[in-house]
């Protein structure tokens, strides 16, 4: 026989599994440090690509001046300066990513905890029957 409470609970859980839960379950598979580490690594990769693209555009933008000054400038000092800015960008963006993905992991875990509680409740409803 149909149990209305059980059907409602299963419907809610199925809806969760199909929408928000899908993402949260993917996050929940990881340990906290692994998840945040991977995401920060992706962020570092992203910022590296962006920095390279921006640097290329900057050189292209000032190409004539750059070519004129190429033999006059201290290339090592220039490279150090470029790397310094790159380090700042990586640290700033990595830190931002760390904060965002730590928060997301905590949120997903909290949501999954609620989902697992509902699973237990569903199991107990089956047991009662």
């Amino acid at each position: 026989m149909l149990n209305e409470e059980r059907v409602i609970l299963m419907t809610k859980m199925a809806s969760y599994e199909g929408n928000e839960g899908k993402k949260n379950m993917a996050i929940g598979k990881f340990f906290r440090s692994d998840y945040i580490g991977i995401q920060v690594l992706k962020s570092v990769l992203s910022v590296t690509i962006c920095y390279a693209v921006c640097f290329a555009l900057y050189i292209f933008y000032d190409f004539e001046v750059f070519m004129q000054d190429l033999y006059k400038m201290d290339l090592i000092a220039f490279a150090v300066q470029v790397l310094k800015y790159y380090g700042i960008a990586v640290v700033a963006y990595g830190l931002l990513s760390y904060v965002v993905y730590s928060w997301r992991y905590a949120k997903a875990k909290k949501s999954l905890k609620c989902y697992y509680n509902n699973l237990k409740k569903l199991y107990s409803l089956y047991q009662e029957q």
Partner: protein
């Protein structure tokens, strides 16, 4: 108000029953509008400015995920840029790459706002975006809205300099890049709009989450006003030539649209607010419960008046039936048997076996 609530419930019912068809149609229309506007405003690649291509792509977007609209819009703009000049396309690609890699990865759910923001900017109602995103999204939506503003100003810069770029030769590649990059980075108007939209999204979000009565309405009005104030302050500082009339009218439109969103998403009756307090082993709870405004499902009363000519008896039979969403009360067979003595009168035929108590009250007596 009851009529509006009934209308809302009817709309919700229609949507929930036909979501499978409505969602693709909406996506199709958004894609069609977006690609159509891109073609009409840019249109440098004549092969792409073709209704058949736009229709095919819009049709593809209708059954692909929402992100497909963003992708196709980006591809269309890049192809138009390429047709204008390869250097312009290069700058466009770099900007899109930066937005995608640095910002949009934080809020992929709101990616459609990147398309909607320029779309509404073109339609002269940009102020709707931050207020609506503050109501429907999260503070992270400020990033998406800002990306949308950057895309809009990139396209405006390109279309504004298109004539000059098209007259430049191939040897002036660097000048073309400088023109677009300078046009984008020195655009104070863009910075002011980004600041005002981002602040508005965050303010609207924070206020609408507050535990105060009419929080959504306060958030909408406060958001529209803050948006206006930041725009005007930005205009005073950077001389961005903001049209005050446009800004005021745009803010009023934003409030109107936001009220419609509120009606569909957060329609509550504050006059019936309940505040309860209880405790368990670990906490004291101070709960404020605000009931949603709803209306009961409307039922219709159908009267059937039939003239009877059966043998010596002549009279009229009035059958009253009540119809609801899922309730159908049918008259049982042979129901009129034994009532023929009501000669020349009117009878009400109701199946008492199939009626529940609460339904009986709604019946009209016609004896």
């Amino acid at each position: 108000m009851t009529g509006l609530l009934e209308f809302r419930d009817k709309l919700k019912s229609i949507y929930s029953h036909n979501e499978v068809f409505i969602l693709p149609v909406v996506k199709f229309l958004v894609a069609l509008l977006t690609l159509g506007l891109i073609n009409s405003h840019m249109g440098y690649m004549t092969k792409l400015d073709n209704l058949a291509i736009v229709l095919i792509v819009a049709l593809m977007c209708s059954f692909l995920p929402k992100g497909a609209i963003v992708l196709f819009a980006a591809v269309f703009t890049l192809l138009h840029m390429y047709s204008l000049s390869i250097e312009v396309a290069l700058v466009g690609l770099v900007v899109y790459l930066l937005l995608f890699l640095l910002f949009l990865r934080f809020s992929p759910k709101d990616s459609l706002a990147v398309v909607i923001t320029p779309l509404l900017c073109v339609m002269q109602i940009p102020y709707v975006v931050p207020v609506a995103m503050g109501l429907l999204g999260t503070p992270v939506s400020a990033i998406t809205v800002s990306c949308g503003v950057i895309v809009y100003y990139l396209l405006v810069t390109i279309t504004g300099n298109a004539t000059a770029i098209s007259t430049m030769g191939e040897e002036e590649a660097i000048a073309k890049i400088r023109m677009i990059v300078d046009g984008l980075l020195d655009n104070k108007s863009m910075l002011v709009v980004i600041a005002s939209f981002a602040i508005t999204v965050i303010v609207v979000y924070l206020i609408r989450r507050m535990s105060i009565d009419y929080s959504w309405t306060i958030a909408i009005v406060a958001g529209a006003m803050i948006n206006l104030i930041v725009m005007l302050v930005g205009d005073l500082i950077y001389d961005t030539n903001v049209s005050i009339l446009n800004a005021v009218v745009g803010s009023v439109v934003a409030i109107a649209v936001a009220k419609v969103i509120e009606f569909f998403r957060f329609c509550v009756d504050y006059s019936r607010t309940e505040k309860v307090q209880f405790e368990d082993d670990e906490y004291y709870y101070y709960v404020k419960a605000v009931p949603k405004m709803t209306v009961a499902a409307q039922t219709k009363t159908v009267k059937r008046i039939n003239t009877q000519t059966r043998g010596d008896y002549y009279g009229r039979s009035v059958t009253t039936e009540r119809t609801g969403r899922s309730r159908n009360y049918q008259e049982p067979r042979g129901y009129n048997k034994g009532r023929e003595h009501l000669n020349g009168g009117r009878s009400m035929t109701i199946s008492s076996e199939q009626m529940t108590d609460d339904v009986q009250d709604d019946y009209e007596e016609i004896f």
